[in-house]
């Protein structure tokens, strides 16, 4: 079956005062119909830029410099602005990290929902309002008839995120891009939102592209995982393999950085150092300066994303060492 979304060799660049700056380079991955794909990475990895590139919401100065983003075969990078607007919120929609600032403070919840509905559905105001109330009830907001007249400040962060989800899913999009949807929320609220997202996307057969730094959330929700580091995809595989047999030293480092819930009193294996700021100019692997496996060769040659079998991709020359050595501890 053909993928729903196919991102191929996408390079995103921004025009700045210092000239053109490449933010992500050669990013490729697929999202299949109905699946949940997690994109994991730390700040500066390019995961959010990738999401905004797909939505074409990079702002005035950012643009896709190379590559293609195919949604159901149509290259979004080449669409006109007007055609892209028809797609946004209808075929592909997005929710964001900060529910507190993602809703317009001076417009009612109802106004913002009805606006989203009427942009893509031929409904009159009354019908749209009815649908909005239905949708709010569906995302677990009590007394939706009352909430619809309220302004965002009257709602808690968790409730606002529910409104965002209602707004994003009301047109039953094929793909939902969720950019750190639970990061700003308390852990008990996070659990509720994870359940809600999962249930609704299953019901609507909506694929989810989940962008997060939290491997716990990845383990809970994802079918497949893309790991990003310094503007590149470094590993892609299914979620079980990723946690059992990671084949990129960065992934291994990330997994070793999280405190386990067992009582084994292991010292955390932190990844030493930080992301190099000049990573675009490096002659070799971008992770080499923090990598325990790095050789001379790694510092002077750029690794490509390579298939280790069964579609498990890694951008590492030394992946066999990880395969043989099991989980690098």
């Amino acid at each position: 079956m053909e993928s729903l979304l196919s991102v191929k060799h996408v390079t995103t660049a921004f025009d700045t005062e210092h000239g053109k700056v490449t933010s992500t380079s050669d990013v490729s991955f697929d999202v299949k119909h109905g699946e949940t794909l997690a994109i994991v990475g730390e700040s500066g990895s390019g995961k959010s830029v990738t999401a905004l590139s797909i939505m074409r919401l990079l702002g005035k100065n950012g643009h896709i410099a190379e590559g293609e983003v195919r949604l159901n075969g149509v290259d979004l990078a080449k669409l006109s602005d007007a055609d892209m607007q028809k797609l946004r919120g209808n075929d592909v929609s997005m929710i964001f990290q900060e529910p507190m600032t993602a809703l317009n403070p001076v417009l009612t919840i109802g106004y913002q929902l009805v606006e989203a509905i009427r942009l893509h559905m031929p409904l009159d105001k009354k019908e749209a309002k009815k649908l909005a109330i239905e949708m709010l009830t569906k995302v677990g907001i009590p007394q939706a008839e009352r909430v619809i007249k309220q302004f965002p400040f009257a709602l808690s962060g968790g409730m606002r995120q529910r409104v965002m989800i209602a707004m994003a899913l009301v047109c039953k999009p094929k793909l939902l891009i969720a950019d750190e949807p639970t990061t700003a929320l308390d852990v008990t609220v996070q659990a509720q939102i994870i359940r809600l997202l999962h249930a609704l996307c299953k019901e609507y057969d909506t694929a989810v592209m989940l962008i997060t730094h939290d491997l716990g959330v990845v383990a809970e929700m994802a079918d497949r995982v893309v790991v990003m580091y310094a503007g590149q995809v470094v590993e892609t595989t299914d979620v079980y393999t990723l946690f059992e047999q990671p084949l990129h030293p960065y992934t291994v480092g990330l997994l070793n950085s999280i405190p386990s819930m067992d009582f084994d009193d292991k010292e955390l294996q932190a990844i030493p150092g930080t992301i190099p700021s000049n990573y675009n100019a490096l002659p070799g692997c971008r992770f080499a300066n923090r990598c325990p496996l790095a050789t001379e060769y790694c510092h002077s040659n750029k690794p490509e994303l390579m298939d280790t079998g069964d579609g498990h991709l890694t951008r590492c020359f030394e992946w066999r060492k990880l395969q043989q050595g099991g989980h690098l501890q």
Partner: protein, 323 residues
């Protein structure tokens, strides 16, 4: 909300009271008095004394103030002009109309220009258009009213003879809407240059701040057209701080009236103020000061009410008390 307005009005009373006391004291400290302006210096002292007693100027200052206040509170009467002997209330009312016409038109026109230009300037930041608007607004602020006014009078009234140089109507003529309009053009241009100049920059910077907000990204992610993103979602938020500025604009315009009305011989409050100062017309000045203080306070309260109207968060805090 109602409780809030009531509270503000109650606070306004002592403020007005304080303003009148301070004005009264300062006025009496200024050199000169109405008698010198009113009568010939050759008049015998006895006659001057009689006039002073008639005007109550020989009473102790606190008595004079007390009489003035009593008159105001008991009868709503501001007394008679010490110079023309007309009732102060009717003098002020007569002058109020022309000032309101001039200032109201200038404010509305100025904002009608400033808001769209400010938005355009912000959405096209660092473009040629932006630079032109910003430079234009800078000129509008920097050129003093009297200077621009005199230049306009020289060019359009004296040299080209297209427009009248001052007044509200031709001498001896009855006037009419057309002539009023002709007389308004020049002073309005001066005032609008100033109001628009100031506000283009406010609107621009307020808009720029809003354009970076997360909720605009949400609006775009819905598939909303950029025009609506800017004019529906961004503008509503950008106007909130502008409301405060408009509230401040009203007292500024009232103060500016003194200069403009003098240059264009506009028979308004400003002109009356200046002539009353010249004549040491204490009673008229007290009336004018009261009106000015009232305008400032009213503009502030009005701003707060409008604020609540445009920002639901504020509305909530008025209703629920400070929170």
């Amino acid at each position: 909300m109602f409780g809030y307005i009531l509270r503000r009005l109650l606070i306004a009373v002592p403020v007005l009271f304080g303003v009148t006391i301070i004005n009264f004291i300062i006025m009496r400290m200024a050199p000169g008095n109405p008698i010198d302006m009113l009568v010939s210096p050759k008049l015998p002292d006895a006659a001057r004394e009689a006039k002073a007693i008639e005007l109550g100027l020989n009473d102790p200052v606190y008595m004079q103030y007390w009489n003035w206040l009593k008159n105001l509170v008991m009868h709503g009467d501001l007394g008679y002009s010490m110079y023309t002997s007309e009732p102060v209330v009717s003098m002020i009312l007569e002058r109020m109309g022309p000032t309101l016409i001039l200032m109201g038109t200038a404010l509305v026109l100025g904002l009608l220009i400033a808001i769209p230009l400010g938005i355009l300037s912000a959405t096209k930041q660092y473009s040629k258009l932006d630079y032109i608007f910003v430079t234009g607004s800078f000129l509008g602020i920097s050129i003093p009213n009297f200077f621009l006014g005199l230049i306009l009078v020289y060019v359009f009234a004296v040299q080209l003879n297209w427009l009248p140089s001052g007044g509200m109507k031709e001498v001896g003529a009855d006037g009419g809407f057309g002539t009023l309009l002709m007389h308004m053009i020049l002073p309005i241009i001066v005032l609008v240059a100033n109001v628009a100049g100031r506000n283009i920059r406010y609107v621009r910077s307020s808009m720029l701040e809003i354009l970076g907000q997360d909720y605009l990204r949400t609006a775009r992610a819905k598939g909303l057209k950029e025009v609506f993103v800017v004019n529906r979602h961004a503008l509503r938020n950008a106007l909130i701080p502008i409301v405060t500025i408009i509230g401040l604009e009203i007292p500024i315009l009232f103060g500016g009236a003194v200069v403009i009305e003098q240059i264009f011989s506009w028979p308004g409050i400003g002109q009356l103020t200046l002539s009353s100062i010249m004549n040491r017309d204490y009673s008229t000045l007290m009336g004018l000061n009261l009106v000015a203080a009232f305008v400032v306070i009213a503009a502030n309260i009005l701003t707060d009410i409008v604020y609540a109207f445009v920002d639901p968060r504020i509305r909530k805090s008025y209703v629920g008390g400070a929170k």
